[in-house]
């Protein structure tokens, strides 16, 4: 599998999603560990803009050659943007999961509490090693 990249400054969920807070918006994607495990991502679908979600709600799916995985939002709120580039180029998640492979942006409704439930890079590293 090779080395797993974990970026400082992001927060991580046990479902292998990452969260980056940009002003009053939370950007969400899946981690390097997740894209590595899925391998060859062939299809991504995220719920529509305007969908209101609670933390840990299912809000989309990722298909790889081998399996289908649900996406959950670690942050409650309203989806305000979906990365539509992934429709035609889902492999972007394999290539750049923390950058161009971001999945959706949320206008948070309970940000502080949701962030407090997530792991920092060191804690996430320990988490995937223990899995």
């Amino acid at each position: 599998m090779g080395d797993t990249e974990i970026k400082d400054g992001l927060l991580y969920s046990a479902e292998h999603e990452w969260v980056r807070v940009e002003g009053d918006t939370a950007v969400i994607g899946i981690t390097d560990h997740a894209q590595n495990a899925l391998h060859e991502i062939t299809f991504v679908e995220i719920s529509e803009v305007g969908t209101v979600l609670k933390a840990n709600d299912e809000c989309g799916l990722v298909e790889s050659m081998k399996a289908s995985s649900d996406i959950f939002t670690p942050i409650a709120g309203e989806i305000i943007k979906v990365n539509t580039d992934l429709e035609d180029a889902p492999e972007t998640i394999n290539e750049d999961c923390y950058g161009k492979g971001w999945m959706f942006k949320i206008k948070p409704s309970n940000l502080e509490a949701d962030l407090a439930a997530l792991m920092d890079g060191n804690a996430y590293k320990a988490f995937i090693e223990s899995e």
Binding site: H39, T42, F43, S68
Partner: protein, 378 residues
């Protein structure tokens, strides 16, 4: 403790391993799509040593085998082979298998990995009263599938034989690059090729070295044909694209071969009648409750097994397999619906985790048979 094939040490070094029905097997060596396209356009090799290989010998071997399998065993000449099924009393499928006749009174039965122990018990139970001996030689023989439009060129080069001598479904002893084998002219990808039984490959260090030696010889000599080692991911995607049934998905104890639409595996002018004969005969004559269909997605989305199938807004069945077809770059799948509810060309919907997506009912294989597959024309 997971079981391992004779070639495991090589897989561990070069592939990503997964637990597959109790066997530690490679899911991929590079990318599943690359491996898949190597099989469609060049040649790929699969370690299928986890399948079970039973040798059945004796003066009543034919009668015994006919009493438990659905194809016509009498049609098998020496060095012939056939795809067949083994049924329960109700006509449900115990397993699907390849049966080869290797001498006057000896046959090889090759069965699915996860059904191996069940079939071994079945053979031992039902062989009582017949003059026949059943030997499980799974652990003495490695099995490698060599598949793709260049597969026979490669095996011809390695054996020094003209592969045209060996017709489809035959099984012949053949020395390939110094290794004693049975060359079975069969496969599970839709492409030309063979499944090679490599003899004298026990799970001793020497046996493993031999099996890995043959595997590496294929890769070395196949380099000029752009050969790729392939894992279970490509094995599933190639069989799905060919429209082949897989036990545990399209086949199970509740499904008959008539329902599964594999009528070529079932014959009725046979003696003795096999277990399940009356049940499948009634399926054939009086009809079935469900029938297998194939479909290609019209909308975006990838079908998987156990997704509801809808027609005119009502749920009519369930999918049994699904995935992305690399040659079509679309989702494809198979499933069961009641007979006479839909036709080829009808538009159905697949419930993909709550999202209803349109698909067209089609024939299999799903790939373009002019461009791909054993009977390709270009």
């Amino acid at each position: 403790m997971l079981e391992r094939t004779q070639i495991y040490e090589w897989h561990k070094e070069h592939g990503d391993l997964v637990d597959f029905v109790g066997w530690e097997m490679p899911v991929r060596f590079s990318d599943i799509r690359e491996e898949h396209m190597a099989v469609r356009e060049a040649v790929g090799i699969f370690d299928t040593s986890n399948m079970f290989r039973f040798f059945i010998k004796g003066s009543q071997a034919r009668e015994f085998l006919q009493s438990i399998t659905t194809n016509n065993v009498s049609n098998l000449d020496i060095n012939g082979g056939q795809y067949t099924t083994c049924l329960n009393e109700a006509g449900g499928i115990h397993d699907d298998l390849m049966l080869y006749r290797i001498s006057e009174d000896e046959y090889i039965w090759i069965t699915n990995a996860d059904n191996g122990p069940k079939i071994r018990d079945h053979l031992l139970t039902h062989s009582k009263g017949f003059d026949v001996e059943v030997l499980d030689r799974t652990k003495e023989i490695a099995m490698i599938a060599v598949q793709g439009p260049k597969a026979l060129s490669l095996l011809g080069k390695m054996s020094g034989k003209d592969m045209n001598e060996f017709g489809r479904f035959t099984c012949n002893p053949l020395t390939i690059a110094g290794y004693d084998t049975y060359l079975c002219r069969t496969g599970y990808t839709g492409e030309a090729g063979a499944e090679v039984l490599v003899l004298n490959c026990s799970k001793s260090d020497e046996g493993k070295k031999r099996a890995i030696g043959f595997w590496k010889e294929l890769l070395d000599q196949g380099a000029e044909y752009h050969i790729k080692p392939c894992g279970l991911g490509a094995r599933d995607s190639t069989r799905l694209e060919a429209g082949f049934v897989l036990y545990g998905h399209e086949l199970d104890e509740e499904t008959s071969p008539i329902e599964a639409k594999i009528p070529y595996a079932v014959k009725f002018k046979v003696e003795p009648h096999y277990i399940g004969y009356d049940a499948v005969q009634s399926h054939k004559k009086e009809g079935v409750k469900k029938t297998r269909i194939g479909f290609v997605m019209i909308d975006r989305g990838i079908p998987r097994e156990k997704y509801p199938i809808l027609f005119n807004g009502s749920e009519i069945g369930m999918t049994t397999s699904g995935g992305l077809s690399p040659t079509l770059d679309k989702g494809i799948g198979m499933g069961y619906v009641p007979p006479d509810t839909i036709d080829i060309g009808d538009v159905i919907e697949i419930d993909i985790k709550g999202r209803h997506r349109r698909a067209e009912v089609t024939k299999w294989p799903f790939y373009d048979p002019d461009k791909y597959g054993e009977t390709r024309t270009r």
